[in-house]
């Protein structure tokens, strides 16, 4: 059975990666399973300097999901390159380095720096607020997407994946803007903006009032958006958002993804990636699917 997929010339041994922000730098889940079994590892999102993140509470449970407002807590890109890449390189898997900034110049600097480091793929998080545009997220307007992606692309010497925010009216329009600006691949979806209130205290549960929704609750939204983006652009897509099982992977691939990422499901079960891969191969076996690539975009509408 052929499980390999190709993302912009980088071959992943299987289509399963981990979603940035749910997996740290791999150390914790590495105690539960061999990280070499993953197609790729999406590491915690990095910024130019260390970020402390938001005060607690940073999480609220929702029906089959969670809201989080971690606030991009990370040690900064320099320490990632120095301390984490050597650790991750012990494993036979691809490193997907997630970077972001608050200005176009910061994005450029991040992409330049990470391109010079030993990583396989760069994932650009464009859901951050643009400080020069009143804090509006870069990823929510086609002109801003175009500006930040073309600037990043000029500095990128490794394949550039642009991670799309689902908090937009027309995801296909945003996807086209990213690809027109030079995105080599797209990943989606980032979290959906949400909010919960502690009714006894009459206060928001999250310290940041609002947060990003993830988990099985968002899966149908992610499948829909991957389907729409697949119809709009031709670049590889990494589908994510609520994936838990091997059947979910099949569904996301059928919607149009070339690879997938698992995230929140690991909080419930640290072995979720291992189980999902087993289920995927079992499903392919039962359905006579010889190559996982056959499943991409296989939905018949």
């Amino acid at each position: 059975m052929d499980m390999t997929v190709n993302i912009c010339g980088v071959e992943l041994k299987n289509p399963l990666t981990t979603a940035s922000g749910t997996f740290g730098f791999g150390h914790e889940y590495g105690e539960f399973f061999d990280l070499s079994m993953l197609g790729g590892i999406g590491v915690k999102g990095m910024t130019p300097h260390e970020r402390l993140g938001n005060p607690a509470p940073r999480i609220a449970e929702t029906p089959m999901g969670i809201l989080n407002c971690v606030g991009l807590q990370n040690p900064g890109i320099d320490r990632f390159i120095e301390e984490q890449i050597p650790y991750l390189r012990q494993f036979d898997t691809k490193i997907i380095a997630n970077v972001s900034g608050n200005t176009v110049e910061e994005y450029e600097g991040m992409v330049e720096k990470i391109s010079a480091a030993d990583v396989d793929l760069i994932e650009l998080n464009i859901s951050c607020p643009n400080v020069k545009c009143g804090g509006l997220a870069f990823g929510t307007r086609p002109d801003m997407v175009q500006e930040v992606v073309s600037a990043a692309k000029r500095k990128a010497t490794r394949p550039l994946i642009v991670k799309l925010s689902p908090n937009v009216t027309d995801i296909a329009e945003i996807a086209r803007a990213a690809v027109d600006a030079g995105a080599d691949a797209l990943s989606l979806i980032n979290t959906l903006l949400g909010m919960r209130i502690d009714i006894e205290k009459r206060r928001p549960i999250l310290s940041n009032v609002m947060g990003g929704l993830s988990g099985p609750a968002v899966f149908p939204v992610a499948v829909r958006m991957v389907y729409q983006v697949r119809k709009a652009v031709d670049v590889p897509i990494i589908g994510m958002g609520g994936i838990r099982t091997g059947r979910d992977i099949v569904e996301m691939l059928m919607a149009g993804a070339d690879a997938v990422a698992i995230g929140t499901a690991m909080f419930a079960d640290p072995l979720a990636p291992v189980k999902a891969l087993d289920e995927l191969t079992a499903w392919m076996d039962a359905h006579g699917v010889k190559s996982v690539r056959e499943l991409s975009g296989a939905v018949e509408v």
Partner: protein, 256 residues
Amino acid sequence: MAIQEICAVRANEYLGSGLYRMVIKTEKIAASAACGQFVHLTCGEGNLLRRPISICDADSEAGTLTMLYEVKGDGTAWLAARRAGDKIDVLGPLGHGFDAAKLGARPVLLGGGIGVPPMLLTAKTCAKNSAAVTMIAGARTRDLVVLEPEFSDFDYTVCTDDGSYGVHGFVTDVLREKITGATGVAACGPKPMLKAIAAIAKEAGVPCQVSMEERMGCGIGACLVCACALSAKNGETRYGHVCKDGPVFDAEEVQW
């Protein structure tokens, strides 16, 4: 090191007032569990996140783990419905617990409400190190007093907020009387209580360890949600994580 184990429930006894005592059979986790650590339990299909529950007691010979918990929502209600023989998915032992050696020869332990249970294994661990343990337990009212027989081996005082049982008052009132000569203080309970205890210990010059609580995600340090504001060496704020760096922190380090 954390282990994921499917464990059989041995007993799940209702103690009244929404409190339950669950005993599970778990060779691996019981054998390595230390005082102040916790386990992260799957609580049914409908609840995505696990629930962190402190370890009340661990018997490595019998291979059992005891947890005392309060039903607060859907997750703990699911847990309360388990019967002997049912299986539960347990992740543990997790976190950085109390350092019993550092508590010294005369430790004073304090628990408030559902913060009392983890102090039992702490007391036992200190006693094993030949320490003379003082335990001060606090509850809102008589019906919420737990583990009295288990603590009777120690110098034990119980107080209730409403005076319906034991000493009328807070654990801090008793601590002020008992802190002279103490070599260490360890506490688990509501944050205002821990803050008050930390202040008394600091004034008396006694090192103090506190077990903090925060809304938690993965339980192993990957998702970074259970942030606890700490003072870095340069005086600036840094966030530790209750699940991995804690739940027990040095009280001097915590930003109250």
